[in-house]
Each structure stands twice: as structure tokens, then as C-alpha cells.
Amino acid sequence: MDWLNTIIRTFFDFGAMAEVLPQLLGVGLLNTLIISIAATLLGTVLGMVVAVMGISPSKWLRVPARIYTDLFRGLPAILTILLIGQGFARLSQSIFGPSPYPLGIIALSLIASAYIGEIFRAGILSVDKGQGEACRALGMSYAKSMALVVVPQGVRRVLPALVNQFIAIVKDSSLVYFLGLLVSERELFRVGQDAAVLSGNLSPLVAAGVFYLVITVPLTHLVNYFDNKFRTGRRRPAAPTSGLKEVKELDAASPLTTGSNT
């Protein structure tokens, strides 16, 4: 069973895994989470701006949003990360210092915002047109009707899609290593790769992979759970009531139908 031994030594060298575990936990996982969460938050804010621009009645807002989305959605993530990470290195140095970490987060959030913008846009457009009309008929401005009624409904509908986007960002965060991170800034993939070089087998990378799955798999299931919940909705369970009861109730309780003529 030579080949089995080879496989075990290559992928499942538990000694090498144990050795890299503290670093994966203390450095890798921490940085992956920081990068992913920061990029998601920034990307969500940018994405909302892009989405609102994208559905604006003004083409001066719509067209730039379209170009932005096409650009960042159409380029490979690695290319965007390298162009931004290296292209703005000097500018970044004067603001954030020598670390490429902030630029990596920004590049990831630009990519994410293009996708999130499309998710939000689809969500907002899926809201029944009558909602906006009801708002406008009450005298609300376009901006108010969007902010108070239409956008919140749209966003709620796309929460599952947003979690999917977060999962994509977690995976893409590994690409930031191309910018050359400091030792303390390494994320899961880089920690695993460095350890793999030392141990001479791929087991540390397998361990890193397990950590990615630990983040992403529960989230995927959480998405399905929420998706179901939102679809079926929070409905108060109520016993069926006869419409005739309502007729009686209305006859009894409506001062507008009685009273004096004025």
C-alpha cells in the first residue's frame, strides 16, 4: 500500500498540521476574517451607492454605475488586486504606512461592491412598483420613499445573496498574499503555504483549507435557513376566521358610516 502512505504523508501529515495550527488560528484565521469582514462592510456601503445610482432616473448617475459594475465584475480579481495594490502603493504608504493590507482590503471591496451593487439593484427592482407609488401618493419624495420603504424591502429579500457574496470574499481574500504581506499580516492561505514549504508536504495547506470550510460551510447552511425563513415569513399562526365576522365587526365599529352630515 505504498500509494496510500504517500497520500497520507502528503495530505494528512498530522504532525505538520499540529505544528502550523497555532499560526493558522492566531494569525491566519484572524487576518482572513479581518480582511473579509472589512471588505464586505466597505463593499456593502459602496454597493448600495452603486445600486441606488444604477436605478436612478438620471442617466448621469446610471451610466457611471453601469461602467463601474462592468469594470470590476469583468476583470479577474487577481488583476484588480495587483493593479490597485501596486499602483497605489505610494499613495497608500503616505496614508496607511508600508503595509499593503489596507490596499488589499480596498481592492477586494471594490470587486465586492460591483457584485453587491447588482444584488441590491435586483432586490430593489423586485419590490412591487405599488410600494413606491403608495409612498409618492402620500407626498413622499423619491429619496424618502426609497430610503424608508422600497430599499429596506429590497435589501431584506437579498440577505441570502449577500451572505453568498461574503463567502466569495472569504475565498478571494487569499489573493491578497500577492501583495507581499508582513509575517503578522498573513492570512490562512499564506500561513498554510509558508508552512508547506517548511514541512515539505501539503498538509498545512489542507489544514488551511479546513479552516476556510469552517467559515464557509456553516454560512452556506445559515443562508439556506434564512432563505427558508424569509420565504415562509414571520406569520402569526391564526385560526381561520369567517369573513362574515369581519362584516359584523365593521358594521359595529365604524363611526365614519354613521354620524351627522356636515
Binding site: 407609488e133 401618493a137 424618502k144 424608508l148 415569513g233 365593521l250 365604524s254 365614519l256 358610516t257 356636515t262
Partner: protein, 259 residues
């Protein structure tokens, strides 16, 4: 004739008595793209009266209502609310003076009945939230829904939802109410309740424009009935004139189909 009254609302907050304004349409023409769906419609609605608009589908009834509060901008013509041009007014301000009730209620699903009524009070009228809630609660009680104030629309029947929608529009203290087939989506046993509610508004001085397929309601409640077909007013007059003595062949045919 219409008196250029600026409606006084002081009493309306406490007693459900309304001060409807006059409404006048002069040669109103509306289009979707290049197609005129409303041609040269002229109509006078006296303050505090109810006008029912009847006619087959596609006759431009809904479009007419949407032109009055400018949810759809008219192409030409003039609309006067209390003698003032609506087309020169700020559309948002104009719409606070005109209440609208939709066929499919269009309640905000993630707001309770109370919040549905209160939302525009604080966000448009700038009322303090507590006061808006208080006013909303009273308006809901007036349509018989005091008990249901904290229910969301999905937990209400169609009739209850439509009554919330009416309370929501009334809370803004409008001078005119537009009803766009307000009972068409209701279960049959709930239609009468909502129609009675609307009739009550009319008796209390609200100016109402009601697009409806309820011929009984039009005959009983309307001061004026307007029959539209293919984007034009074919015939207008008292319910007795239109229902008992229809002059145009198109109205005769329409009535023979629906009565």
C-alpha cells in the same frame, strides 16, 4: 363653478368631518409614449361631492386618476384643485392634498397597520412620532381597526387592509380622495363594508373621485357619474340620467353587459 377656497383643516383633526375642495379637469390629455390614452377630458367636481367613473377596461379611468395627482404626468390640458393649477404646483406638496387608494392596497408589508398610517405623518408632515402614532391610532379606530393596529398587512384580510389604506390616506387630511377600483380585489362579502365606509366619507364632505365597477354604489352614492370609453368621456350626468336613460349606444351596451 368653483369657489377658490383654501381648505381649512382645523376641525378635521378631532372630528371626522372633511372639507373637500373642488376639482376641475380641462382638456386633459395623457399619453404613454406616443399613444394618447386620454383625450381632451373635461370634468368638474364640486366640493364635497362624489363622482363615480365607470367604463370598460382600457378606457383610461385609472390613468385619469393618476394624472390628477401626477403619478403620471399629463401631456396637455389643465387640472385645477380648489381653483389652483396642479401642474404648476410642486408634485410632492400637491400629493399631500390628494389621497389615493389603490386596487391592491399597496400597504407597506414590513410596517404594522399603525405604522402604515403614521409613516407619512412624521416623514412628510414632520409631525413628532408620538403625535403621528396618536393620530394614526384615531384614524384606525375610525375605520373600525383599533384592535388590529399592531398587525402587519399579511395578518389582515383584504377588507381590513383596504381600510388601513383608507385610514392612511385620510390621516394626511386630503382635500380630495381618489379611489382606483378600491374593492375589485376584495372577497365579495367584504366589498359592502368598504363601500359603506367610502359612502360615509362622501356624506361627511369629502370630495371623491371613484373609479369603480360597483354600479349599485355608483347609483346610490354618486352625485355625478362619468362613463368613459377609449380615453374619452362619452357621457356624464346624474346616476339617474346615466343608468335609467343612457343616450349613447356605447353606454347602453356597457350597461347591458355589467348590470
Amino acid at each position: 363653478m368653483n369657489l377658490p377656497t383654501t381648505a381649512a383643516h382645523n376641525a378635521a383633526a378631532d372630528a371626522p368631518t372633511f372639507h373637500g375642495s373642488s376639482l376641475e379637469l380641462r382638456n386633459l390629455t395623457m399619453a404613454y409614449g406616443d399613444i394618447n390614452v386620454l383625450r381632451d377630458v373635461s370634468l368638474t367636481v364640486a366640493p364635497g361631492t362624489t363622482t363615480c367613473i365607470i367604463g370598460p377596461s382600457g378606457s383610461g379611468k385609472s390613468t385619469l386618476l393618476r394624472g390628477i395627482n401626477r403619478l403620471h404626468e399629463p401631456k396637455s390640458g389643465e387640472v385645477l384643485l380648489a381653483g389652483e393649477s396642479t401642474l404648476r404646483a410642486n408634485p410632492d406638496t400637491l400629493r399631500t392634498r390628494i389621497g389615493m387608494v389603490f386596487q391592491h392596497f399597496n400597504l407597506f408589508p414590513d410596517h404594522t397597520a399603525l405604522e402604515n398610517v403614521a409613516l407619512a405623518l412624521w416623514s412628510v408632515k414632520g409631525m413628532p412620532k408620538a403625535q403621528a402614532m396618536e393620530r394614526a391610532r384615531r384614524r384606525l379606530a375610525e375605520v373600525g381597526l383599533a384592535e388590529r393596529a399592531d398587525h402587519r398587512p399579511r395578518d389582515l384580510s383584504g377588507g381590513q387592509q383596504q381600510r388601513v389604506a383608507i385610514a392612511r390616506a385620510l390621516a394626511m387630511e386630503p382635500e380630495v380622495m381618489l379611489f382606483d377600483e378600491a374593492t375589485s380585489a376584495l372577497d365579495p362579502e367584504l366589498v359592502k363594508g368598504v363601500l359603506n365606509l367610502m359612502a360615509g366619507l362622501g356624506r361627511r364632505g369629502m370630495t371623491m373621485l371613484v373609479v369603480t365597477h360597483e354600479m349599485g354604489f355608483a347609483r346610490r352614492v354618486a352625485d355625478q357619474v362619468v362613463f368613459m370609453d377609449e380615453g374619452e368621456v362619452v357621457e356624464a350626468g346624474t346616476p339617474a340620467q346615466l343608468f335609467d336613460n343612457p343616450r349613447s349606444e356605447r353606454l347602453q351596451r356597457f350597461l347591458s353587459e355589467v348590470l
